[in-house]
Symmetry: none
Subunit: 218 residues, 4 copies
DNA sequence: TATGAATGAGTTTTCATTCAT
DNA sequence: AATGAATGAAAACTCATTCAT
């Protein structure tokens, strides 16, 4: 998918390429251990060992342990918004790439599922730390409010006007859509260990549920 | 609701009453600080201070910090199942107290919302630690599989046979129901800070969504 | 042997009889644990538990942990001298009960072996603590110099005059006798676990060695 | 004596030389304080202070206090066997350097006395801890059984065949020889504080006793 | 007399961080 | 840039001792 290439463009190439081997190893190890034990329970000593690096080396690159955490988590935040910022995204929606809301949902779920899958560890860290580090929570909320919500809103308005969605407040639709997608992804990846039935069917079930609910009568 | 009185009966009175004042203070403070900073980032020293107790006193009652965590979290696990174990629960379901699945959902959401509200801190701690302490995860899964799932299944089967629910596999219905309820509660309590619109309407929206989805066409 | 009855007379009856059940249990447990782990590595808590007594109770009877140690070890010191103080002892030696030095050695070794056997734990504690608590060392030396050495000297002088012993300084004879006896007992009880060959033969070997050495020539 | 130079060769030069200044200071201080107060009664804080080092530094090098104890005591164990492993030792015995058993005894006692004198502290620690730490006891027994006993046996057999020793079981001869030597050394160094009469005479007395006993008649 | 909860000083141990090399 | 020895402050935990009951 071309999304991914575009996604890469969004990331500061320079930051990525500047990384020495050791630095990369440090980041990788940090991600691993933070995800395994949580930030507070992780010792810089263990990160160093796993990275095959002297403990001092970590502090050459990151002044404090917390700065290392930030270095690990921050890029994720931009990656999370990335697809919504793509010029293609809006065009796709409005220029009929997505013929319907359920079509839109399908693309969204698939994309986010893929994203979640390839960043489980980072997401685990992020979610854990959002609970305790107010800065992270703030950053996260800002990103949502400034980037994702408005776009979402225009999409919902669009399909509501097309008569595809019930006449419910947009905020409610967005809330239910997002919370369902999130819980769908969490359930699949964390609780079901990404196994259970075939992904396409799993996604279909969810979309059908979102559009038509569980009730049998019209 | 009488559920709550019965709920109390389930808890080991003796354990509760045996607690000395200091012990109770220790538990309370531990809950507070664990919820604020997370288990690993909390020092026993801080708990002691907040409880107005010598640090040694904590270790008289709980051999290790982790044991204190367990003492804080374990009772919650039993409280979580409690309502499902009540004899009343089943009777209510099958003896028409719940005339419909949406009726059942309403009771369930209200009850769990109330429960979550009065145990936010504990739930926060539990969720955090489930991510890192395998024992907790195991206990949680067991409780779900042995107590909650079977009951849920019989309810779903009952209403499916009554023709109120779509002809979808029971597991799928349960998954969607539970994940929607959980995300509804999490959204309301954690993200919306329990404010936003009036609770009854919030619940209605959710139930309507679960039964009929977001789509406009029949 | 009548020695034992006399021995009891030497001990302050009052002290023994005044002991309540709990006190006796405390002393017994203290002996056990001190012998197992050493004084410094033993916690009063463990003693209390093993004695089936509250920790406070120990301090009712012994102001400090060290006082408890003293209460455990001091009686042993008097028991150690006891046989040498018996009026019988001297009489036995000089009025032909002990016809020869080797006869005397036999009685002495047998008696001390028996004594050591029934007080292994206490002796272990005593020896350990003599190494670190100067008071104990002092007490031990005093007991030796004032009670045991003089008596020993008169015995050695007696048999030397009778021509049974080589013409070596008495101090040397005493040193060699005592150190051989001590090492004989230690070897048997601690190193050989009181097993190996039959005790009588073991003692005979030792006595023969003390009298005649290892050399083959006259 | 060339024994000592050879002895040094046996010790892992590398281990010794790898030690930083601080590490050496830590070991030295540990030895001092352990010997003074006993392992359990020694605090790492005191060791650190005496070594002029931060307490954390100790734990950089030795994961636990017990590991420090091992680091202090283990090298001693190999030093104890060292002389018996020297090629020279056997040759000396059998190629007439030791013309007689008493000659052999003299060399042995002198060597061990010297050894004990230069390692009193370490030996004190070792003996104390053998009483409480089963691992140490096991290591000690193994060293004795595998290295010292067999060599001793061949020496005794050799002199027994030459008719210099009584016809007593070898085990008995070894036991009496070793226990006499040990108690001789302990008496001299610990009890007599290495003073009393001139060492040569002291050793002579002991050897004469071992060969000929205390009895006057042939 | 006995209890056992409570204490606080002390102990072992951990850990982020610094710094000379 | 990288190392790794060293630090010292703080963490978890221990323990002899006290005291209200």
């Amino acid at each position: 998918m071309s999304n991914d290439d575009l996604l890469k463009q969004l990331l500061p190439e320079n930051e990525q390429s500047k990384l020495t081997d050791k630095q990369r190893k440090i980041l990788e190890s940090a991600i691993e251990v933070f995800a395994e034990k949580g930030f507070a329970a992780t010792s810089t000593n263990e990160i160093a060992k796993r990275a095959g690096v002297a403990e001092g080396t970590i502090f050459r690159h990151y002044k404090t342990k917390k700065e290392l955490l930030a270095a690990v988590v921050t890029p994720l935040l931009s990656k999370m918004v990335a697809p919504f910022l793509l010029k293609d995204f809006k065009r796709d929606v409005f220029e009929k790439e997505y013929a319907s809301y359920s079509d839109f949902l399908r693309k969204l779920i698939e994309n986010r599922l893929k994203f979640a899958r390839s960043h489980v560890q980072l997401l685990k860290i992020l979610v854990q730390e959002i609970a305790f580090q107010p800065e992270f929570k703030a950053a996260y909320i800002e990103i949502f409010q400034e980037n994702i919500f408005p776009l979402f809103k225009s999409v919902v308005t669009y399909f509501k006007e097309k008569g595809e969605l019930k006449d419910i407040p947009e905020e409610t639709i967005i809330r239910l859509t997002i919370s369902t997608i999130v819980s769908t992804i969490v359930t699949r990846i964390i609780i079901l260990n990404d196994q259970s039935l075939d992904e396409e069917e799993y996604v279909n079930e969810t979309i059908h549920f979102m559009m038509n609910g569980l009730g049998s009568k019209s």
